[in-house]
Symmetry: C2
Subunit: 309 residues, 2 copies
Amino acid sequence: MTVGISHARAVDAKVVACASTGNTSASLASYAAAAELPALVIIPEGKVTGGKLSQTIAHGAKVVQVQGDFDQALALLRESSEKFGVYLVNSVNPFRLEGQKTIVFEMLEQLDWRVPDVIALPGGNLGNTAAFGKALDDAFAVGLIDRVPRLMTIQASGAAPFAKYFECGFDRYEPVIAGTVATAIKIGNPASVERARRSIERTSGYVTTVTDDEILEAKAQVDRAGIGCEPASAATVAGVRRLVREGVIATDANVVGVLTGHVLKDADAVARYHLEDVDGRARAGANRPVTIPAELSALERVLTDAIHG
Amino acid sequence: MTVGISHARAVDAKVVACASTGNTSASLASYAAAAELPALVIIPEGKVTGGKLSQTIAHGAKVVQVQGDFDQALALLRESSEKFGVYLVNSVNPFRLEGQKTIVFEMLEQLDWRVPDVIALPGGNLGNTAAFGKALDDAFAVGLIDRVPRLMTIQASGAAPFAKYFECGFDRYEPVIAGTVATAIKIGNPASVERARRSIERTSGYVTTVTDDEILEAKAQVDRAGIGCEPASAATVAGVRRLVREGVIATDANVVGVLTGHVLKDADAVARYHLEDVDGRARAGANRPVTIPAELSALERVLTDAIHG
């Protein structure tokens, strides 16, 4: 192992730990509980959704909220983990990346090994982009697939250091201060930036950005289709839409879009979109409950409207 | 069909609808969206968890909040559905029960057709108890299983009309006004009470109750095991525990407990348990986050405590 992780094995470590915007912490807490390992997560205070935080707490991980952002949390944890015998499971850990590769293997299997033209995914800490490229390399090397799909990573425009790096031909990388409604990818200094670069280069891939408004509209559409996802996942759909518009993805291309988070991971995002006013009124697509007294006539009025209105 | 449902087929109906404490509404909204059918749900105002409400809204169902409880909501909807050509998907619909039967078939298949001694499940509107009995009847009739496990239905003590009915030898049934933290089973007049009675009688089953405190402690334990569930599901675990204590279930019995809702269905229940004081202090098992400044020394103090403390 050449990456800078603690060399302790998880089972020898005194504690398994991660920095997280919420999803990794929920997963770590759950698996650590099942394996009866003590877990500690460090999260940016006030920037993790209620759902993800509740999972992490419920599964019994020690939760440390840092008064800073994800990037600071990860930097602090990396700095102290070796000294304290802490086993880090962020995507700086090569075993984590091996696990993330299985997303691609399962996807290809579900496609009956017919290779899509494009695999699009959201990009935050870039562990998935790194792992997906490695998985495709491996699948091609052993002959499971006969060509490699193009990886397209979508970042939120307020948290897009990788997109900027891509735009300058991977000439100069600069971290940013991240800001986006898509908390799962609100990361300004992705840990896997160089590994992700390799994935994009080797698959003739692409990196682009979408605005928060595009993310929220795409999310509303995914939700309305009966599937549902958290905002970061909707970046995938918004990004594919944009890349088709820009001619990067052909209109007849076979595209797999990866959604990385369930709608319940961020229930508040639904409430904000549908229940809160924008400029003093409801959004065009807002779906607001109506409230009626417990009377038949009131329900019948609603049904009449629903059917004829 | 002898039950009192609209005879319209779903695809002919002007709208598919249900009354719900939240889980049925979320499912209906999702599947109706996927099938491009208009959906309407009627829920008790303020008594559906934020997660379930957010799914229902996100998936585009028309949400009607009634100023009453679930039982009133269902009664109103049943009364008006025939007249308005509304297709009801509550467990008064025999096709709904057929669907719920698959829980048992899948469970038996996963057990490699080795029959457990007991199947325990939470009881609210009693659709699952009704369907499980029917599924076991069917599986036995066609020879998939060579004996029938005992069904044990667990109700919250504040919403236990079926348990009371069972206690008097199914002599006299009386609805109640329901009150429990387990919103998914907060039902005082279950639609499937007679069908559920048949399930209990035919399987030599049992019905019991658990308190809200027992539910919350069982939930904390299921959560802490890395699985997680919503409060109503934890009633299963609390109930099995009680029935073992009371000698109804043998200590060496093979028991399957059915958990019907994910932890994210009620994230607020986690926050209430772990973050809110009881009698001025935290619960014994409360897992509270700590907050630190973005400084290495602060994290190192936490790690020292976590490892040695």
